[in-house]
Amino acid sequence: MNRAATPRVLFCTGGMEKISTEEVRKSIERFWAILSGKTAAKLEDLYSPGAIVFTGKAKRSEAGRLTAVRRSRQLPGASSNSIAEVGAIEIQFAGPDVAIAAYTYSFHTQKTQSDGTKVQISTPFGRATQVFQRNEKGALLIVHEHLSAAAPPEKAAQ
């Protein structure tokens, strides 16, 4: 590649509030609280407009907004006993405004199928990568997410 032809930009560090570990942890806690139906906050508010997401079982990535809308339709109610347990979160900071969080999780939830029967779905070995970036308003938003499972989710009729 001809480096001389590459556009060059000035990059000024400073003037932008650095992301803290605690801030990333709180965003992850908020994400799982929403997915577990424990808070009425909006899932779509966590994603950057240009976010890209690999959900647990999709063959291709999709826009974060689409994922958020679909997940919001499927969210369990506050009375459900959905449980998310997040393992140790490893955070890599890549510059002042980007943080990469990687962790394992387990998620147990109840879903009602089209025939009315209820099934308990458990993802015991979930793995998550979430890339956060601070936007121009100072909010920490997910710009990329990859959720996967090391073993297929287990289904059990209720």
Binding site: F54, V98, V131
Partner: protein, 156 residues
């Protein structure tokens, strides 16, 4: 503090992804290893936990870069998110086939028809794009298939 940095282009990231798979399938171990930053972390497709890339490289050396192993891969469209002058994310689907020869001559084949990859690239101090974090997974369960063993060559 002000620094002058060459901006990352989408083409540059796509080229890095293609180099990664070329080194992987041609078993160019040293060049493959160089794709990862020393601090890189990885979720391998078959692992329950994240691990440092250097551990994954030791395992892949044994499993993939040995003489009796072969890997082929086909990549889907690569989406690139440029997050800054030094940082970009590549995400893409892939299909992969791995054939491994185990101790004792037994051969196994692993087909990954619906692989998914996230690779976060960061420019190092020499200007090269290298992987800072990788998350590979399969949208479908994958199970190794045993292949007929290769008969031992006749003794003279």
């Amino acid at each position: 503090m002000t620094r002058v940095i060459a901006s990352i282009s989408t083409d540059e990231v796509c080229a890095a992804v293609k180099s990664f798979w070329e080194f992987f399938s041609r078993k160019s171990k040293s060049r493959f290893d160089e794709m990862y930053l020393p601090s890189a972390t990885v979720f391998a497709a078959d692992a329950r936990r994240m691990e440092p890339a250097r551990l994954m490289l030791v395992r892949r050396e044994r499993e993939i870069f040995s003489s009796g192993s072969f890997l082929t891969a086909t990549l889907g469209p690569i989406e690139v998110q440029v997050l800054g002058p030094e940082l970009a994310i590549a995400s893409y689907p892939f299909q992969m086939s791995i054939t491994r020869t185990l101790a004792g001559g037994k051969r196994v084949q692993v087909e990954v028809p619906s692989g998914r990859s996230t690779q976060i690239f960061q420019r190092d101090d020499k200007g090269r794009l290298r992987i800072l974090h990788e998350h590979m997974s399969s949208a479908e369960p994958v199970s190794p298939k045993e292949l007929p063993a290769i008969p031992a060559p006749p003794r003279a």
